[in-house]
């Protein structure tokens, strides 16, 4: 069949290729051009304006710090959750379902939920006050409490974004036959050794995918930060948004967008290099 009509596969993928080209490649090229040109002439003016901006260094630093704080914690929690759920027989599906609820909530809604908890008249302060730990409402999210603000945003991001890592890790763990862990146990490996020397190396592909996905998403953090910190905690996407909407300067906004893309690509390359996946060494 397919030998008679070799063009069939190409026809079949044509719609998705056209879709991608129209809605992804064209805007991408346009954005890159927008960021590297000035009135139709190639120029680095946008990049210079971006780099010279007051918030540029802060937003870059905040975004990286947040990524560095959030991603490892999310990975650790996801591994713990995945290992725990692997030991459960009945009710496993229900627990997984509950754990993935944050995935179904929009970023902004999640940010607002945490705002309701952490604002001056929020649940957290009411609780502390009720327990007699604080005497009056304390501010956690202001520019005067940068550490508390950072922690609040990190916690909210961890709550919101861990489920996707867990889903990938659980899928990876399911790929590892239990005989590997049992064999290790028989030959004298304790739980930690089994985890570090058997399980982790065998779920490399899942680790790699989860880390790439989660890190790229962390570089794109915006809604939760915007809900909790507003402009007190500038991040890269937030700055792009401001240049686009407040300042109506699409060129600088595009420069931010391109920067985020470059950073994400660089992180992906780092992961691809650091966590090598050799199909020869997988189950």
């Amino acid at each position: 069949m397919s030998q008679n009509r070799p063009w069939i596969p190409y026809v079949l993928i044509l719609p998705s290729v056209a879709f991608l080209a129209l809605l992804f490649l064209v805007p991408l090229v346009q954005t890159i051009w927008l960021s590297m040109s000035d009135n139709g002439v190639p120029s680095l003016a946008n990049a210079q304006r971006m780099a010279g901006d007051l918030n540029f260094t802060r937003s870059l630093k905040n975004t990286f710090l947040l990524t560095l704080a959030v991603v490892p914690v999310q990975l650790a929690i996801a591994l713990a959750m995945g290992t725990m759920v692997g030991k459960i027989g009945r009710g496993r599906e229900t627990i997984l379902w509950i754990w993935t609820i944050p995935l179904g909530i929009s970023d902004l809604a999640a940010g607002l939920v945490w705002l309701a908890i952490l604002q001056n008249s929020g649940y957290f302060n009411s609780l502390l006050y009720g327990l007699g730990i604080i005497e009056r409402q304390t501010s956690w999210l202001s520019y005067q409490t940068p550490v508390a603000l950072f922690l609040a945003i990190a916690v909210a991001e961890i709550w919101r974004g861990t489920a996707i890592v867990m889903v990938i890790i659980v899928a990876g763990l399911n790929q590892v036959p239990k005989e590997f862990r049992e064999a290790a146990e028989i030959f004298g490996a304790g739980p930690w050794v089994r985890f570090w020397r058997i399980t982790l190396p065998l779920i490399r592909p899942a680790l790699q995918s989860a880390l790439i996905l989660r890190t790229v998403l962390a570089f794109e953090v915006f809604s939760v930060v915007y809900a909790l910190g507003g402009r007190n905690f500038p991040v890269l996407v937030g700055e792009a948004y401001n240049w686009q909407n407040q300042n109506q300067n699409y060129g600088v906004a595009a420069a931010y967008a391109v920067l985020i893309m470059v950073v994400s690509l660089a992180a992906t390359v780092v992961y691809l290099r650091a966590i090598k996946v050799d199909p020869e060494r997988l189950p």
Partner: protein, 352 residues
């Protein structure tokens, strides 16, 4: 080296009784197979001995010491898994060395033991490779070498050859026997393949529905099955069962009158191995209606009926019998097993 005592092991999965009061003693250095169809509980029993599964009740002693409650690593055993479970992210060398590394053995001893085990199983050329580059048979050798490298007191094997193709299985079986005879390790071997169990074991424990039906040497089990199940499970073709009437303490089978076993009721089951018969003069013996005759080269396999009950018998290859013939057979009286039609158990062999 150690003996193993399995004492009243029970295992329930919810309402399902997987093992019903299993007791079995295995001597030091002995090779015992747990043989039975899938679902009979043999793998569960092995996993309980290994410590990968907990028994509902009962005790397991290895070398006179109860190991129930001890983690697998403190039981002094090694195991070979059905799907090999050779670690794909480690070289063959590191796989074989794994148990020794866990025991914190120094590099010199690790090297010594790995080389010894690799030599026994002829995997020296692959020590630097990763398991996925190896064939199934080679991986199985790695799994066995990994188990032998720690010089375990007890070696547990869970259907180790069932993933190999027929030819390789035969080859590995012979080799396994050679290697294990030399090592002298107490071995429990789980299999559903009777030829493996017969070929390898000192003794076989035939299991069925969570119960040990019979324990004995391969020849004992073959010639004197304790139950109808054992007779029907062991042997190819399986034992024939012909229900015959008992009158005045004698069994009328064709023109033959055989002494009925003590304690027999109105009927008794004649258990007859397919090859324990000889062709007799027409009308003298058990009449068999032959449906199909299959010349197998080494023997002639006949399928048909005696007393209207299906049977398979084996005759020398030179006999000329064809489908549709009615022949007379004379059973070898020493090789008859009498069984109760109600309980399926065999009557004790009559003193000749």
């Amino acid at each position: 080296m150690a003996n193993i005592v399995i004492d009243g092991i029970r295992k329930n999965f919810g309402a399902f009784e997987a093992l019903k009061d299993i007791s079995l003693t295995i001597s030091d250095g002995e090779f015992v197979s747990l043989l039975g169809p899938s679902g009979c509980g043999k793998t569960t029993l092995l996993r309980i001995i290994a410590g990968l599964e907990t028994a509902t009740s009962g005790d397991v002693l290895i070398g006179e010491r109860s190991v129930i409650g001890l983690p697998p690593k403190d039981r002094g055993l090694a195991m070979v898994f059905q799907n090999y479970a050779v670690f794909p992210h480690m070289t063959v060398y590191e796989n074989v060395a794994f148990g020794l590394r866990m025991q914190k053995a120094d590099d010199r001893r690790v090297k010594e033991q790995v080389e010894k085990a690799a030599g026994l199983l002829h995997i020296e050329p692959y020590l630097d490779r990763y398991p996925n580059k190896l064939s199934g048979g080679q991986r199985q050798r790695v799994a066995v070498a990994r188990a032998l490298a720690v010089e375990p007191r007890v070696l547990l094997m869970d259907e180790p050859l069932s993933n190999l193709d027929a030819l390789l299985r035969l080859e590995m079986r012979t080799e396994l026997k050679t290697v294990l005879q030399g090592a002298g390790t107490t071995t429990i071997y789980v299999t559903h393949d009777q030829t493996e169990a017969m070929g390898l074991s000192n003794r076989i424990a035939v299991m069925h529905d969570g119960v040990v039906e019979q324990v004995g040497s391969p020849v004992e089990i073959y010639n004197h099955p304790a139950t109808r199940f054992v007779g029907g499970f062991i042997g190819n073709p399986p034992m024939n069962f012909i229900t015959v009437a008992v009158e005045d303490g004698a069994v009328a089978a064709g023109t033959l009158r055989l002494p009925a076993p003590a304690g027999a009721g109105r009927e008794v089951v004649l258990g007859l191995r397919g090859e324990a018969v000889a062709l007799a003069a027409p009308g003298d013996g058990l009449d068999m209606t032959v449906r199909v005759a299959e010349p197998m080269g080494s023997h002639l396999l006949l399928t048909g009926a005696i007393h209207g009950q299906p049977v398979r018998v084996i005759l020398p290859p030179a006999e000329r019998v064809r489908g549709g013939d009615v022949i007379s057979l004379r059973p070898d009286l020493d090789r008859i097993t009498w069984l109760s039609p109600e309980s399926g158990k065999s009557y004790p062999a009559a003193m000749a």
